[in-house]
Assembly symmetry: D2
Homo-oligomer: 336 residues x 4
């Protein structure tokens, strides 16, 4: 059986997922495309989905009888409506992050899915599919005792000039917010933000670096360095300190060279290279679940909790030194 | 377009490739199976290829109009006949190593393909598709100057009691024989074998470890330690020493743990874990070429040269200390 | 010329320094010993300083015309009086940490030395003499741009049952307090303490681990994980994040072994092994300066600042979540 | 007690050892100097041994009643005569390598020492005192089972234009010849030399790199890459493959930096930096034994065996591909 996929939003990520489904992964085919920019959809059809039908709107695409499951890769503000439409149609739906641009929007999706009674939504937190993260989770779950602390870093070589302080949370830390909850099987209870000396490379409206301190329900303390103009590379670090030992996220595979009086290996500079393989695994997981009429991986609830948690971190940015509490509503049974 | 694949030989590797084509990779479907053991073919059909037709013989499978391309994953002695049949039928053919059990057999395949006039055969040297090997080749080609030496090791934790000295060449070194030619873009001119002190863990008829010294047409000197009862793990090492620097094959990704007074990470113990990802890439490459009616990757010529080179290494085993020359026939233009 | 050294306090560290001076280092000889426990002094004389004279009191030892310079290695509460006596006698004095048990005591020593008009006191912060720390300082000073953050850890496998929460500052963090000031050439302006989930291995009256957050005058943010029952080893980590790059303290030299399906090397478990070589360098530095009638290395002012800073950290322990300011008096010109 | 040392030969190494004894190490003093170049001796006296007496000849220095022990750091051709003189005088003698410029000369020293009846000579093979080598020996002796193979490399960034092929043995490999015997507690039975493709950076009369294959009495097989124009750095590698595991010489301590899209650390380029600490340990060992009227560390026998073994390697250079046997005379009981 081949699952028939409709893709709403044919920008860079929509195009790439379409290519992935049609040329790399087994079991599915992109049969429908839609974008507010018709030329974009036509271009993706021409390049990687010649047999796809182009729909004028995402709503029509969702409603099409020829579409079994939906990818929402439009701009963020439109995610909520398309995901709600997919739930209403009872079709599995993969939604790139953010699930919605507000916690309230994410809540509406959760409520709709709960009302539907079974999972249909997978949120695009691809880190959970990264081979290194999966290996780390396995070790954390089995080999180092109870986790007590996490030391993490999310570093980017540079960001555009328009970047502002909040984006360090909403565009950058958001990945750690999700993946560390998953890694620890835990939730956050508070956040504090510390602003170190500012790099001279930071754009005018961006305080960079930042250190975000999170506390979990089990008392685990997390410090995440967010440094998006670190210059030297794209670098994701994570070290979990447990009662019996410490485990660290592996460095990406690289060739070690002895040359020019240095022992050296390349550090990646582009985030796409860092997580490219995880997109394949992520979508394969979606396709496998969609074939059974359901969804797997990060849930709408995870998307909602990420929104609540990042809102708290933004509040903590605005009151440096203050510990901002994070409180979550009761978790619906669907996500137990 | 979906390529219709026939698989001849449904043992472990045939089953795995069938699963790979039907469940992991895009663009192909296994539509035909054949095995001398009918129950094996039936079992693979039941598990991973429900729509496949079972053929009584490999020859019938090759001849079927419903089969576009063929995988030869039978036992080694039968490879030659099936590959020749595929060439005769003008169908792309992926053949697991060895291409044939003798250099003469491999030569017959080369001649048939040359007579056909275009490539149809890909030999299953999956190392060339290993991400680490590819990264190493890129660095060797660009960053360390002319290669002068290669220090390599191929270590297995243990081998069965029936293993004999020659198998260290034909089953183990054969991978280095192929991948180092490819890595250096060079051919061998001589081989010498050195027998170090024997491990007490070696089976009766196996001298283990062995060191194989190879010289190439460009004068590069290669030493490969083959140690198949090293106990500690499955470990592939390769260091290329160039005029300007040294590059090394990366270690497989692993979680570094601090525990029990040790800084430690796991070493793999099963070769299948080491190269599992490269099988996907290898077969995807085959499918992409087969869709164009041709073949890519390791050629029949590569299989033939590997056979000649390994024969010389076996001769060198029988005369320790002797330098055995390796001379290759002229390379047909098809493989230029 | 041979410098004649008197050692006050012949416990473990006094004995070891005596051995060091008499058997390892050039240019000095221990000629005088004193300890409240006469048997201890006699034993050290017998074992490693046969020609030394035993004095009934430290004061008499300091006063002896045959003593050129003094080592104060008695218990902490007695340090202040002996150091003041040495200053009064105009003799160079090496004092193990703490310089005094209170900031006020340290201040009295600073005042006495300032009144004397030139340096006589070296405080035993041996970390500054560690080869790795020195290499790190050189890189921080030259290769990574302005420091912005420091991520550090001080881990001990276990501590005795009588240990209490404050000791994590006064006995453990005290080393980072000194060495990070030196590394950054900076001073602290505030401290905050975070208590992560407690390890089940912690003694009853010790909260373990702790994270101490320090801010410097230049805005550098430091997080130090203090974890003294980490079980796995004695482990000192320090990573300095600068505007242009990141530098890390090296791991102690160790033999990497491939064995038992692991790539592994030993982690030290005893702090004495970690810094043993630095004691030699530290004392050699003292002897070289003493030969010129002065002192080098960590100053009385450094000892005083360490006391003020650690007092603030203890205050921060008592008010978790609070940011405790650290303010230093004006630095006397002697220590400019 | 202070041992009174006489130094014969005040070139770079003689000067450095004099400084070491007078300014770094405990227990000895250089009281006598001699050099064929009187100005050199005077300069060393002025700089680092103001109280030393200058002797017109080494023989007079050895004969002086004020000299307890002798360092022979003259040019190689004069070593034998001075060492024989020291033995005749019954004085402990440290001799830089080579012990003599011919195996016969070394044999005469062995015979003289045997006739004397107890050890007086230490040969300056400082590698045995390198911390990394000592750590490796400990692991090889205890943790990896019977050694089966050694893979080693001795790389220099560059050598002067006058260097010739033999010097790769006599000046470079000589260190591995000694240290690997010691590491394995074994002797050599044969040598073979392989000449890889030549680096374009090699001087006219030097074949570079070379690979020397050694076999030991226990059947251990050693391959040493000698590459003295490797450009990238001074790099000593040694990996011992045992029945149960593999141990490797550690890299020199270095600061790992993340900068400019690279994870990097410096590789040394000067051999003196690599082994500087081992000279201190080596001479301290000599002084400790000399204080007891004897010698420790590498013996005259070790110097003799190194000469025989390196002669065989030179013979193997002249007949590439030939396996040259190495046979040693019976070991005198003094060196058992």
């Amino acid at each position: 059986m081949t699952i028939r996929i409709g893709v709403i939003g044919t920008g860079a990520i929509g195009r790439d997922h379409t290519r992935r489904i049609n040329q790399v992964l087994a079991g599915a085919k992109v049969v429908a495309l839609s974008d507010v920019n018709a030329a974009s959809a036509a271009s993706v059809k021409a390049d990687v989905a010649p047999e796809a039908e182009i729909f004028a709107t995402g709503e029509e695409l969702v409603a099409s009888a020829g579409v079994d499951a939906v990818l929402v890769t439009s701009w963020g503000a439109a995610h909520e409506a398309y995901v709600l439409a997919a739930i209403a149609a009872g079709k599995p739906c993969f939604c790139e992050k953010p699930l919605a641009t507000t916690a309230e929007g994410a809540r509406r999706i959760v409520d709709a899915e709960v009302a539907h009674g079974s999972r249909l939504v997978q949120v695009g937190f691809m880190r959970r599919y990264d081979e290194g993260c999966r290996m780390l989770k396995q070790v954390v779950d089995s080999a180092i005792g109870q986790p007590l602390m996490v030391h993490a870093a999310h570093r980017n070589p540079t960001v555009p000039d328009h970047c502002v302080t909040e984006m360090a949370i909403n565009d950058t830390l958001i990945h750690e917010i999700d993946v560390l909850r998953w890694l620890l099987d835990d939730d956050y209870v508070s956040a504090q933000v510390v602003f170190p000396r500012r790099t001279s490379a930071a754009p005018r409206d961006l305080k960079d670096p930042q250190i975000v301190l999170l506390e979990t329900t089990k008392g685990v303390r997390i410090d995440v360095e967010v440094f998006v103009n670190c210059r030297y590379g794209y670098d994701i670090q994570c070290q979990v300190v447990g009662e019996e030992g410490i485990a660290s996220l592996p460095e990406p595979m690289a060739i070690v060279i002895r040359k020019d009086a240095k022992l050296q290996n390349a550090i990646l500079t582009d985030w796409k290279d860092r997580f490219i393989a995880s997109y394949d695994v992520e979508l394969q997981d979606f396709l496998a679940a969609a074939a059974r009429g359901t969804a797997s991986g990060p849930t709408a609830w995870d998307g909602y909790v990420a929104a609540i948690s990042s809102d708290a971190c933004v509040a903590a940015q605005r009151a440096p030194g203050t510990i901002v509490p994070i409180s979550l509503p009761a978790r619906p049974a669907l996500y137990a």
